[in-house]
Amino acid sequence: AQTVTQSQPEMSVQEAETVTLSCTYDTSESDYYLFWYKQPPSRQMILVIRQEAYKQQNATENRFSVNFQKAAKSFSLKISDSQLGDAAMYFCVRHSGGSNYKLTFGKGTLLTVNP
């Protein structure tokens, strides 16, 4: 089975500091998408950022950026200037390319932001 691995079950960061969440994945495809979703205690799943595998440039969305290493199959998320509202479960997600629209989720990293 093609998997997504998040090796950090829990992480914590001080408010205003930077934290990096790790993710590795397995795939035999050359065309695919990667995402980070967050799920706060409200349980609403929210898209944070996405990366298209054919793009070499790392995606950024305001304080969120990724380090996409295609050859290493690594996709880490950096959160800069952490805010209390960033506290949530973060899921690394892989989408298979082509007409198969299934998402494969990692087990998640629980991020705590300390004031």
Binding site: R43, M45, Y101, L103
Partner: protein
Amino acid sequence: SAVISQKPSRDICQRGTSLTIQCQVDSQVTMMFWYRQQPGQSLTLIATANQGSEATYESGFVIDKFPISRPNLTFSTLTVSNMSPEDSSIYLCSVRKRGGGNEQFFGPGTRLTVL
């Protein structure tokens, strides 16, 4: 993005009964999906809800246990049949919009507890 609502938001049910969860989207979408999130776990895809035809189920999930309907492009239901305590989970619907970047947008989830 898409605005997705689910009903009910939560329910407590007795063993052996069935519950139907509704998912409504504010615009027509190409694909709708149903996921299960067991306590403290990641998301697992149950099935893809196909408009006008039978749903496509993932390994380990069967139509008799999780019948799905999708009568139009904005609405779907998932029924959890003959429930047992092991069915206690959060059930989420998600959608993919045509022309999007293959990301999915999620509903707020239905928290089901089976006694």
